[in-house]
């Protein structure tokens, strides 16, 4: 795989215009703001009133959000990347679904996963087939196509379990099929997540557009991303590539995400 093709694929996947509908999600930010804003009446949460304290509180949220996504989703992404087969993808899809006890997070993951599968089928597959040279990439491509077909006819069984189409394992396979490296795949996944949260922050008027861009370009964010990519990449080599070790590192995040449903008015889907 030449670097030029690699770069092209990387730019495609990191593009915020990739039609996954990511702009509809705030990954718990909106709910977090509502919980901390109402703190004038709630003594348990410190209020962030001034602009600078707002931005500081947001940075804490951003780091924690990235950390939580890294520890819950990256193991699945990497496992799918390293073991590209339809059977494994099905197992990962089931396990990820079982490990996401939050309606809002599941909805966001499934919506983006299915959108990615659609983009794959309609746009990325022909390119990858003409370019992909290594056998892993071809296997990933086949697994994605089989999964896309199976998902269309999937019906829940007697226990209410069926195929879902979660985002992280599908993203890993798409990266594999497009010839990205393992570290690039994790990095671009976390970067896209950061962009989603930052863009939500701008629209929720927590930050101005330049402030947001400054955080995105800053060394702090780069440090977090590199750190978490390294943290999650380290488990590779054990039995299932660390999927069983995927864990929630910020438990409160699940509460905020889950309580997004309770917001009186909301602009985001999660």
């Amino acid at each position: 795989m030449s670097t030029a093709l690699n770069l092209h694929a990387l730019l495609l996947l990191s593009d915020s215009a990739l039609p996954l509908g990511s702009f509809a999600f705030s990954s718990g930010l909106e709910s977090y703001l509502a919980h901390t804003k109402s703190s004038s009446s709630n003594k348990h949460f410190p209020a962030a009133t001034t602009n600078s304290s707002k931005a500081a509180a947001f940075e804490v949220f951003l780091e924690q959000s990235i950390s939580n996504v890294a520890s819950t989703a990256i193991p699945y992404l990497l496992n799918a990347y390293h073991h590209p087969s339809y059977e494994n993808l099905g197992a990962l899809d089931n396990d990820f679904d079982a490990s996401t006890p939050c309606t809002v997070a599941r909805r966001a993951s499934i919506t983006q996963g299915r959108a990615l599968l659609m983009v794959w089928e309609r746009a990325l597959r022909p390119t990858s087939q003409s370019q992909s040279a290594d056998s892993g990439g071809r296997k990933a491509s086949e697994a994605l196509s089989t999964f896309a077909t199976a998902l269309k006819i999937s019906k829940p069984d007697a226990h209410g379990l069926g195929l879902n189409g979660h985002f992280a394992p599908l993203f890993g396979l798409v990266c594999r099929a497009l010839g990205l490296s393992e570290a690039e795949a994790s990095y671009v996944f976390l970067l896209s997540h950061s962009k989603t949260v930052l863009s939500a922050a701008v629209r929720a008027s927590v930050l101005g557009p330049y402030q947001s861009q400054a955080i995105l370009a800053g060394t702090k964010l780069q440090g977090w991303l590199k750190g978490y990519v390294a943290r999650e990449g380290r488990d590779e080599g054990c039995m299932r590539g660390g999927v069983e070790e995927a864990a929630v590192t910020i438990p409160v995040m699940d509460l905020w995400m889950g309580r997004h449903e309770l917001l009186y008015s909301r602009i985001f889907n999660s």
Binding site: E63, A247, E261, L262
Partner: protein, 334 residues
Amino acid sequence: MSNPFLTPPAKPGHGIIHLALLPPSTPRLRTASYQYPLKLVSPSPTRLEDETRCLVHTIYILTYGGGLVAGDSIDLTVTLEHTTRLILLTQGSTKLFKSPSRELVSKQRITVNLAPESALCYLSDPVQPFEHSCFEQSQIYNVTVPSFSAEHTASLCVLDWVSSGRPANGENWSFRHYGSRNEIYLCFPDGKHRLLLRDNIMLDDQHLEGSITDRMHGLAVFGTLVLYGPLCKALGQFFVDEFKALPRLGGRKWDSGSESGDEEADAAMIKRFARHRQGTIDGVLWSAVPLRGCVVVKFGAPTLEGARRWVRDMLLHEGSVVKNFGERALLCLR
């Protein structure tokens, strides 16, 4: 055929509980064996007062010193036969004492094998990690799916919660490492396993730049309640309905003026408002999620007592835990 003269497990910290069913329908505690530092105490079983007249067994899981010293390892295997019911309790919070190094991790593993129509109620006291402690626990529930029908599965009502340590000693999530995993597997007649639910929390002081305290955002306790199976269906639905009925965030609180009088029509609504008010005073944050046939309730609160009161009030109000397991099941929530 299991050996009636089962030798007690020789390894330290190992324990076996086997609740057997004597024909036609008498549950009997066949095995309750344990090794230091684990201790199991089984008071005499209680009989339910409803029409089922079901015999419910109780076992206290104790450790010498009320907790785990660095390097202790508990490994408990529980087997519940067809239609048997078991309450697991603890006596006070499980204390986790400090560990001299990050490498010395205390561990607790509980594996429960549930036959069709059996039921487990495990409403323990919270785990209380002291400063510098290192701890990992896992609760694995293997639910056998009956071959004739997917409906007559086992039932589970299990609570897993952790507190911030000893606030009086200035501890506030001051441990080194805490991990807790809850997994439910469906075991099919053909021998296949499928993960139904996994809830895995990992708090490590080296994972992020900030301290664990920063990650907990003022909460002093965080917990997960998992409900599964026919006996817990109504309770799960109750949590889901109550969650939907919570007052909207950022909306007007129309329910604050209780003098209007029209609420008197519905006693259940009045109780609900009272719970909401108490929950707001206690600062309880919670959510209930129905997924894959289970209901997962996550909650956090700035005080341990607030969380305990909230869980107890919810379970008492709905009433099916007391109905299906007896008053004893809620002892740890008193």
